[in-house]
């Protein structure tokens, strides 16, 4: 286990390094010039050039990468071109807002999605199952931003129940959490349904029934538990997705999280900030993956990590 963990952490470092190269190059290859956004329209070509020099954008690309790597290894991740502050500070400031949304959304997804999925599986092809499946298809097909705007128009403008933006009160969490949770809830429910359906035909489930165990116990202790590995894997990845993929929802609700920060940074070509955000989100994603893998050994004792 110890060896395995060390090996995985080393792999994680390699993955991060690879990611840093890709995001670094992707930003440089993408057209657009951050200096152009920083100077006034009055500025001449010469002043633009001065700004590029001041930002270090005139240096050869490998030199820029070495500077970037130096900043990464020193933990500062460089300085944002636009906010004029260390990237690491900006990212850490914006993480709590995103975590709050992601955790609340995940709780909604699990508390509602998992039991619904199990019910759908054990009562497959009953009318509640058919309705639930129809809803999940719609839920998955709805883009988050569209859903978010519809929720604002219906519940803020129409009914006046919840704030339209910001996070000034607990009720301000309701609409963004629904916008984030609904599409994922649909997915998790479908996933749980198919995973449970699969194991319900296994021999051990039949044996459990033959033993005369109550149906509830058959479903949850023998069926659902054996279906847990794919469910945990998918749900874990959904959580990682919630952390990194809440950009649009954050922008719609003017939510001060890392998603909105990243998107703004991309629009303004704030190279160090985009790189920092991506590396942070990548790190979180890799860590969640690692935790999922480690949880297998707990969920299924046959799995051992050497």
């Amino acid at each position: 286990m110890g060896n395995y963990l060390v090996r995985r952490l080393l792999q994680l470092l390699v993955a991060l390094l690879g990611m840093s190269v890709i995001i670094f190059l992707a930003m440089r290859v993408a057209p657009g010039d951050p200096a152009e956004r920083m100077v006034s329209p009055l500025a001449t070509q010469q002043e633009l050039q001065q700004m590029r020099e001041a930002l270090g954008l005139n240096k050869p690309i490998y030199e820029q990468y070495v500077i970037f790597l130096y900043d990464v290894l020193h933990g500062s991740l460089g300085k944002s071109l636009f906010y004029n502050a260390p990237v690491v500070t900006l990212v850490l400031e914006s993480l709590p807002a995103t975590f709050q949304l992601a955790l609340l959304s995940m709780m909604v997804v699990i508390v509602v999605g998992v039991p619904l999925g199990v019910y759908s599986a054990t009562h497959s092809d009953s009318w509640p199952d058919v309705i639930a499946r129809a809803i999940t298809y719609i839920g998955q097909a709805m883009p988050s931003f569209w859903l978010a705007i519809m929720l604002i128009l219906a519940f803020s403008v129409g009914l006046g129940l919840f704030p339209a933006f910001g996070r000034r009160s607990p009720s301000a969490f309701v609409l963004p959490v629904i916008s984030l949770a609904l599409p994922r809830l649909a997915r998790v429910m479908r996933f749980v349904r198919s995973a449970v359906l699969e194991v319900m035909h296994e021999d051990y489930v039949r044996t459990a029934r033959a033993k005369g165990l109550p149906e509830r116990s058959v479903v949850y202790r023998h069926g659902f538990r054996n279906a847990l590995i794919p469910i945990v894997t998918d749900t874990g990845l959904q959580f990682a997705w919630l952390l990194g993929g809440s950009m649009i929802v954050e922008v719609v609700f003017a939510w001060p999280g890392i998603g909105a920060l990243t998107l703004n940074a991309i629009y303004s070509r704030d190279y160090p900030l985009v790189e920092g955000c991506v590396i942070f989100l990548g790190l979180i994603f890799l860590l969640i993956n690692l935790i999922i893998d480690l949880s297998y050994a707990v969920l299924d004792p046959r799995i051992r990590y050497q």
Binding site: S40, P41, Q100, L103, F165, A260, Y267, V298
Partner: protein, 544 residues
């Protein structure tokens, strides 16, 4: 069998334990999440100090009550822009130049509602000779932190903004300034490199900052100025809170608190003003106007801005676009009235010159080019292109209102006289650099932030700096003459002549003056939107 059994138990125990830990962790997070939300609006650090009411109370009039109670109420504003740095000298973006800088800080020279110069931190200014301006400064003004405002602070502020290492977005506003001399405590001499009529208008955008506070690292997040409002709190991406500066040199503002919310999404901003979560929202979409106008608690303003947008032709290369007749044919082939009334739903106006009609030097007497496809076709034939030609148009996506719809309409109109214009919507950051290299046509305008002709013309209509390679010796001469003059009336007259000359060349196929739509709650009193988008709140107040 037995090992499996033990492992089963431990697995169950683990799951229970894990569930418990997860539950605890989650509830902890929710508690944390809710904690800062207990007080939704931040309480100002000190309670409002109500001046003692005199024992013999006179019959209270409205004005007297205001004087007695001092600043009151909170005004909330939503705009599209995220705030980057709060340092009043750093940014060159609408929300900084037009709003936050003006809350925290003051310029030396300011504009009144008619865009005539009025004293800011300078009481008066005189041109001593062609190159030297003398500014007499206001005495007894203090920065929010107690630092003294004087000639040293002005000299320091100018030099700070000009310093290339400081990377001020608006450094070019001071490009003409050669040196700043302190004559005495309250007099500065500003020397320009050449006679500069643009100095004063440029100075309306230059904030004066305190020497000590601005050297601190946290100045960008904790700004200090002389302005009517002082900084209270800033949560990045969430809100900026300011409170009345009771010692303001121009008299205490009527509002106690001002909160700025950056809301990037247009629909959300519109929703926020409808629900009453904000009092003023900028950037309302034309299609939302009708829905907002029926709401009794709201007022909707549609005002002309300082920007005029059109199809800009790159004027070098052996292409049809370099011929003036071709560009005039293109203009006459486009039904601009219809574009403004149908696509823009009446927001903005048909362009009647090369600059917006909201500018104080606008020339209203130019002969319009009517919508006339027949004459357009004839002009095109005369220019030697009876069968038309093919070209393309770069559009910085989302920068100008309804840009996709308008440029598609333009392409459809041009098709009728045989011109095939391929419309290329390009993401903004990628689009702007394309304006600095040869292109065919580019959909753009230029906001004249300081409302002055020099900013409007000296870059794109002078041969050395023109991005579209415009070169007309008469225009160059007029722009130079206006630049050398320090008499504002004379300068504005020269800029009217500049417009007449450019209007004959038609280097840009001007479509429309850009309109700004603002929605405002009726609880806001004494405030109106301005063409330059500056939000001056010193005299504004709120009811209830």
């Amino acid at each position: 069998m037995s090992p499996k059994k033990t492992s089963l138990i431990s697995r169950r125990d683990f799951l229970k334990g894990a569930a418990g830990v997860a539950g605890l962790a989650a509830s902890g997070t929710i508690l944390q999440a809710c904690a800062p939300l207990a007080s939704p609006t931040p309480v100002p650090p000190q309670a409002p100090t109500v001046p003692p009411i005199p024992t013999k109370v006179p019959v209270p009039t409205v004005a007297a009550t205001a004087v007695l109670t001092g600043p009151a109420g909170t005004l909330r504003i939503a705009m599209r822009e995220t705030l980057l740095s709060l340092d009043p000298q750093k940014e060159y973006q609408i929300v900084s130049l037009g709003f936050t800088n003006r809350c925290f800080a003051d310029p030396l020279v300011n504009y009144d509602d008619k865009y005539n110069f009025v004293p800011g931190l300078a009481l008066s200014w005189t041109a001593i000779d062609d190159l030297t301006w003398e500014f007499k400064l206001r005495e007894g003004v203090k920065f929010h932190n107690g630092e003294k405002f004087n000639a040293e602070a002005v000299k320091y502020s100018f030099e700070r903004m000009k310093d290339p290492n400081y990377k001020a977005g608006g450094a070019s506003l001071l490009a003409d300034v050669d040196s700043v001399k302190v004559k005495d405590e309250y007099t500065v001499l500003v020397r320009t490199k050449e006679p500069s009529g643009a100095l004063l208008p440029n100075l309306t955008l230059v904030s004066i900052v305190p020497i000590e506070a601005s050297k601190r690292d946290d100045f960008a997040t904790n700004p200090v100025g002389t302005g009517p409002f002082r900084f209270v709190e800033y949560k990045k991406g969430e809100r900026l809170v300011m409170e009345a500066n009771r010692e303001y040199w121009g008299g205490a503002p009527k509002l106690k608190q001002v909160i700025y919310y950056p809301i990037a999404e247009d629909t959300t901003r519109m929703a926020a003003v409808r629900t009453g979560e904000v009092d003023i929202a900028y950037g309302i979409l034309p299609e939302e106007i009708a829905g907002l106008k029926v709401m009794p608690q709201l007022e909707v303003f549609s005002v002309l801005s300082n920007d005029c947008v059109g199809v800009i032709a790159y004027l070098e290369g052996d292409k049809p676009r370099i011929k003036s007749k071709v560009r005039k044919a293109m203009l006459m082939a486009i039904d601009r009235e219809k574009i403004v009334s149908k696509i823009l739903q009446g927001v903005g106006a048909v362009a009647r010159s090369v600059v917006s009609a909201a500018l104080p030097f606008f020339n209203p007497n130019l002969t319009p080019y009517p919508y006339d496809p027949k004459q357009a076709k004839a002009l095109l034939t005369e220019a030697g292109y009876p069968d038309g030609f093919s070209s393309n148009l770069v559009v910085p996506s989302g920068f100008y209102p309804k840009d996709a719809e308008i440029t598609q309409a333009v392409a459809a109109y041009l098709k009728q006289i045989g011109i095939n214009l391929e419309v290329r919507l390009v993401e903004q950051s990628s689009a702007w650099p394309l304006r600095r290299v040869p292109y065919e046509f580019f959909y753009s305008g230029g906001a004249v932030m300081n409302m002055d002709g020099d900013m409007a013309f000296s870059r794109d209509y002078m041969p050395e700096t023109s991005r579209e390679k415009y070169n007309n010796p008469e225009v160059t001469r007029l722009i130079k003459a206006a630049r050398a003059s320090s008499k504002q009336d004379q300068r504005r007259e020269l800029y009217r002549q500049v417009q007449a000359a450019i209007w004959e060349d038609m280097p840009r196929i001007q479509i429309h003056d850009v309109g700004d739509v603002w929605a405002m709650s009726k609880r806001v009193k004494n405030w109106q939107p301005r063409p330059d988008k500056t939000i001056v709140l010193k005299d504004a107040s709120v009811e209830g």
